[in-house]
Symmetry: D2
Subunit: 488 residues, 4 copies
């Protein structure tokens, strides 16, 4: 069953619902429960697009195993053109949500692709693990499954190591090995998009190379309905409002969840790494997964930035504020943000290189810079939209108001210079949901931390960057000393 | 009926409910309707405090007309000590909401007090109007009523004057004078706290001194249940969550509303100004009302800043992050913000002067500076709290979750270094509601525009400020020229 | 005499010295006068490089008229590869001054090239002018001359037009036409690098299309020693210190000058445009000159940014401060700035198009964004270097101190963790001259205004940018309305 | 000889010249050497002011020992009025240099006063030391001497303690005790204003409480001409330009110097503390000296901020740019900075308390906040002035130019809308020297680090601030839980 339809995706969820808990209850059918049905449909829509005649060639390619069409995000990239082709696919999906569905399935697919091509990396841990990784990638690709993941340990105490806590299984750890597989226990933060078919655990938290910590060095995958595995979500931000009232929140509530493992069995064929702290620590970087994922992310952020620029211009046009200097300056800032992100993406693609596994991998410097820059740009984009919309962002009647007892007054008093009150309300609703609803505000926080704690990502940029050519340049200049530049 | 109780306030609302419309329906009883009952109770609580033994002397004083205790915010200030006494009262009320009830009734009371003392100002328009203003103030003081107000015209077209629109009564204007009073028509933005007894219309929008515009020069007051008068609110941000889940939004949803006037009769005794553009334009500044209101506001903002500093420190303490330099730097920023606001308030009080009506009025410069500064400080305060809470601000289970099927896991995995999961969840809930809920996000926008469009308030500061002593100082220095400072 | 040597350049200056005035005196020989000799030598050095065996092919190409080698910056660009080749040349020259010689001759050369290829543009004004432009370009290219230019009118009164002043010839204007040419009078600001062979006047200030203003619509060129033409420089920032003490200021003082025209005759063959306000206003943009010049500039700014990053890293390494988070964060900011500028340059080159004159022209959007962004980045780069060097930037002994009575103490107490006091002093001298000397401080202001008043360049970016695709995207999203994304 | 005249001060310098080295030479007579004579005269001017009839009462008071007039900065403060009186004196002195003489003598005088009143603190170390401190204060007061000081160790290696370096006497340390006094060796940074009568060494660098470090715990004083003691200055920023050309740099070059101690004998009566790390670490804070010094500093910074505001307004007025929004916004920022600093000073004075030595000491919180805030405000003030002056800040002819061959053209083309070219040039010269000369740029760096490394002062603010009332307030709010605010 390659390149699924939306219907097939929803049937899968109904048949094997993930063990999701929201607001004190278990979600038995995520495709119909009010908390989750809307986002399930939005994901389903992405799958439907794969079958639209005009998009098919952009969103799918011929499976190397079966020849059937499979999702483009699974493409094994060996040329710059592959990266560009894949990016086009990321962009099409991202545009459907104006970039507000942060974790569309293509994000994890490129992780999996990179890991599969680096199967030898996992084979260093155990010969079988390389095959597991490769097989799992093909299984997901051919069944077009949705994956979520969970990267960090619960933050119980930042001054102690995981093994020093009273209970060493607060962090997810290996309990024992059995004939069938391994038993794991503990919790992980934060699975965004738990309405998924599969959960991939990949090693992200850097561990000290100590014997006591090796139980936390783990990579494996599980179906989300596996017994003993459960997802505890935060409060729903889709609060049952109409698509008009909450155009984003009513569609793209992807949720964030803690993942609990209550002595869960992971079958051997789903184990990719264990007990090896050194291999765990370097997995994301060495397999190149992180650069492919960031490439997808940067493409989504470009879609999102375009949406901010579009809404900003639409507001300026509608209320006729384009002649004000401070308005021009704010829109100019958005233009600078967009063009900068696009230029960094171009640089990442044009500077891409084949890694040691033969995978064409986006250039690290522009990718790392974009990762550091966007979390700084985004809060300002939000602020700019708020400042452009001003008090008009607050006084927005609801859809029911528009058809209620004061409909006439609303139509009269809320018209804009160049638009009816209906058009004005709809546009400002979107601007509000991008920046001021609980949904929009979560996005703001999410962007700040998406790539990790900004303090640490900056430190990582400092440490990973090769500045020696520039130091040498300065030293060469100093070496001129008091010699003249030109003798007469 | 001086210094009311909460109960009396609520009975008043039930008896004479304001004409409020929310989400397509009319609110018949704001004290029991789920959209409004919580905020009605929070206002009622303020009135109850007036009768608590230990607060009575701080919150009330002896009415000059009856000798009975009346609300301290009505105090006619003639000494610096009066201002300090009144500020103490503002602070006590503000602290009950951590500063998140932006429009507690004392805000409008000080407006009214200043206007009443400047009765002669209104008498210039019509001898009767001075008395109306004074009488209305005493009426409100002695009945301890809650007022709302609405300052600006609908923003239909920023490039045309109000009278140039197809319908000149989109902006609120005078239609005709009758024996009983005046008939007014049109709309005004934005009445915050429409759950009020009275609506005060005061002239704020600056008008050109043209004959065609004099109909828009208006000051009057009306009960909120007056026929033909109605309030259209925005979408409710109190969405029915428990006080634990939404500690602020479930209590302090003050609403914002458009006010519609459908040929409403204002009786003569409630008319304070009409037809005089010049007097209308200068009313806020000349009566000193704006400085008294800003004095209340700055006190509330100090309460709010204290809350940010308190929550920030509580989080840092709970998760043990105080040793990180960037955490220290962020908390230091909050300290700087708080102490700066407190110093400006002190300077406003210590520099206060008697105005021409004999009213002790806070000093303009520090008041104007605080008005310009706080809208810049607040968004950063919000950002700092988000950055300190980090991903912990997202993954917060609900009250139902805490008692639901995964209660045990939540207790285990969400504990903090120095707190139980219950304590942690409650604290982070508050931080979330301050900064990331729809309620908190509205506060962010509200603070940015509370004192008016920042571009204009900066221009006003530039224009009103007397910089000539500093120019003279520089000229004196330049006049030294090439003379030596000291001859040998 | 194609592709000159430094010696030839200096001989040219000695033979025909520009009419330069500095600090109350006329500079008779700029190659030997202490105020100018150092910068003359630095320019000469650039010409010498053209003849170095390993650089010759990068810095020169075969003249299409003579086959002799001429300067690469004159290259008529018709392919992306041409732009890349030329940029390489810009970079080599820029690196010799670490980007601190803002107006190396290649800047004006690309202006001239673009104008010459757009000869038809000038021919619209007068058939002869197109030929004059083309011939002048070839003349400069084949003689490898140094050009300066001057763009703006004196800022006597910002609220009056040039023709409304008491004397309409404060701004440079046409006085009369004669058989030999035109007579011009007035002044222009600011000729940077007046130590040049030629002055090009190009029309930059936007004029209203009024009869009274046509006299100000002018484009022409003159030798800098033309009688009646003079250059009044600002105070010299090369104050006679050694190259060690002031490594930049003692070498790259390019000066800024007002240009006075005292009824100067411009021969007809040097007139390119006159009397046509419309053509004057659009000349920079229509000929593409501005994009080519900005392409050179951005390349120089990259060289400069590399120098900041190099010095920053060298300091961090020398004093061992790399483990501090705030240090890492600051260096990371420099990395982000550099990679962003590099990515925008790449985008400008990869997105280049042939214009209507068949010239391959860098893409406007990334060029315009880089022009807006760099003035924002630069002051922060300066601040970062100051913060990294801290008090070490102040306490730097001079070269004479290093060899004076306290040489021993200096050697002992000023050593660094990983460097001798001599090395430390030299590095910090450079950092000081980049950021804290009068020379460095002028650079800071110069960068802020290089591309014009930031307020206007932002407005221009807003107005020139095509945001309609993004508005359409948002409208398409809104058009979905309440339809479901996926039906079940 | 109480309250000296300028002449007396200069005679003192001539008689006992400090051992100062500048640019490779020893300054034998600082009152006549071109490097130092201008600043010596500027200091002398301060002393002359003490004898002006209209200032005498503001600048001096009756000595408690002799009844003669002594300098007001020596006043032992026991009331808030004392602090206000002293601040007035600081302001008068600061205004003579527009705040650009950072280290006028009153700065050290208040240090000494606080230390003398806390004589018991030093007596804990050795009974005699308390008396030494008190006596030394009276000696300086009665002779009206100028002091400098030097606080930090040379920054040879930030990762090693002073005693771990190959030579433990790079940092200033105690070598041995003799009958006459103590022998000290090493170096200290940075003595600003070495053109002083006396050097005070006070313990500032925080030391670990280890036996090996006790030799660095030192407080003592010495005449600046003591044999073995020498001052190595940085490059002179007074480069011999006229007062018109460099109105600040030609007058207020206070220098910064390293201080070398070549086995210098400190007589016992000048020793205040030794060998006690604990007492050394806490001396500044416990004696209150730091709060008195910061009080003086904040007053000087207010004078400086006033100068920025004055120059900014004068420029805006002169070139007629006050109608531009972005100009208004920038001036408004300066107003906010000034009023904030003034409010914090007021809060420090109004909140002052008697310390345990009976000294009225400015309130710590506002003082600490002002210390943290000003270094953030100052660089922006500099930037604002640059942006307001724009290119007019660059093209400023010299005094010689104004009287040179192009005088006529300068007069014509450099006039301003509301000023002659002479007035314009003089004003812009001042603005340039405040922000763009080497002198002005050093001030920018100096302000950033005056109060110490910003990262550390922020950490200190975080650590010293008592936030518990605000934490308690938040906890009380959370304790309300799900109770209603008001029951019906």
């Amino acid at each position: 069953m390659p390149a699924r339809t939306g219907k097939a995706f929803l049937e899968g969820l109904r048949k094997n619902p993930p063990n999701i808990y929201i607001d004190g209850e278990k979600i038995d059918d995520p495709t119909s429960h009010p908390f989750t049905k809307n986002s399930a449909r939005s994901i389903a829509h992405l799958y439907d697009l794969q079958h639209q005649a005009e998009l098919k060639n952009k969103l799918t390619y011929d499976s190397p195993s079966t020849g059937a069409r499979v999702g483009m995000s699974f493409l094994e990239t060996t040329t710059v053109a592959d990266l560009e082709k894949r990016a086009q696919m990321h962009k099409i999906w991202a545009d459907t949500s104006l970039g507000f569905l942060g974790r569309a399935p293509d994000y994890m697919n490129v992780n999996l692709m990179a890991a599969a091509r680096a199967a030898d990396y996992f084979a260093q841990c155990d010969k079988r693990f390389g095959n597991h990784m490769r097989n799992y990638y093909e299984y997901v690709r051919e069944h077009d499954l949705v994956l979520t993941h969970a990267l960090t340990n619960p933050q119980v105490n930042r001054s102690l190591r995981a093994d020093e806590l009273a209970d060493p299984y607060i962090a997810l750890g290996l309990v024992e090995e059995t004939a069938k597989g391994i038993i794991v226990r503990g919790a992980r933060m934060m699975a965004t998009l738990p309405i998924a078919d599969e959960l991939l655990i990949f090693p992200s938290t850097v561990l000290k190379e100590q014997e006591e910590l090796k139980r936390y060095a783990l990579a494996f995958a599980l179906p989300t309905h596996t017994p003993g595995l459960s997802f505890q979500c935060r409060e729903p931000l889709d609060i049952g409002r109409s698509h008009e009232d909450h155009p984003l929140g009513s569609r793209f509530e992807e949720y964030d969840a803690m993942v609990f493992f209550d002595d869960v069995l992971v079958p051997w064929e789903r184990v990719f790494l264990m007990n090896d702290v050194k291999l765990a620590n370097r997995a994301y970087a060495e397999t190149g997964a992180v650069y492919h994922m960031a490439h997808q992310v940067i493409t989504v952020k470009i879609a999102k930035t375009e949406a901010f620029l579009g809404v900003a211009n639409a507001i300026v046009e509608m209320i006729g504020s384009g002649q004000f200097q401070h308005v021009q300056q704010k829109v100019a800032e958005l233009i600078i943000s967009l063009e900068t992100m696009k230029a960094l993406k171009l640089a990442a693609e044009q500077g891409a290189c084949l890694d040691k596994y033969g995978t064409m991998t986006p250039a690290k410097e522009p990718i790392n810079v974009a990762r550091n820059l966007f979390p700084q740009l985004y809060p300002r984009m939000v602020e700019i939209l708020q400042l452009l919309g001003a008090s008009g962002m607050i006084m927005i009647p609801t859809e029911k108001d528009r058809h209620g007892p004061k409909a006439q007054e609303i139509a009269k008093y809320l018209q804009a210079a160049h638009a009816s009150s209906d058009e004005r309300i709809k546009l400002f609703r979107l601007a509000w949901d991008m920046t001021l609803s609980s949904f929009g505000a979560r996005q703001n926080l999410y962007e700040k931390f998406f790539f990790g704690d900004p303090v640490r990502t900056q430190a990582a940029l400092f440490e990973s960057y090769n500045a020696s050519p520039y130091i040498e340049k300065v030293k060469a200049f100093l070496a001129i000393g008091n010699r003249e530049f030109s003798e007469l």
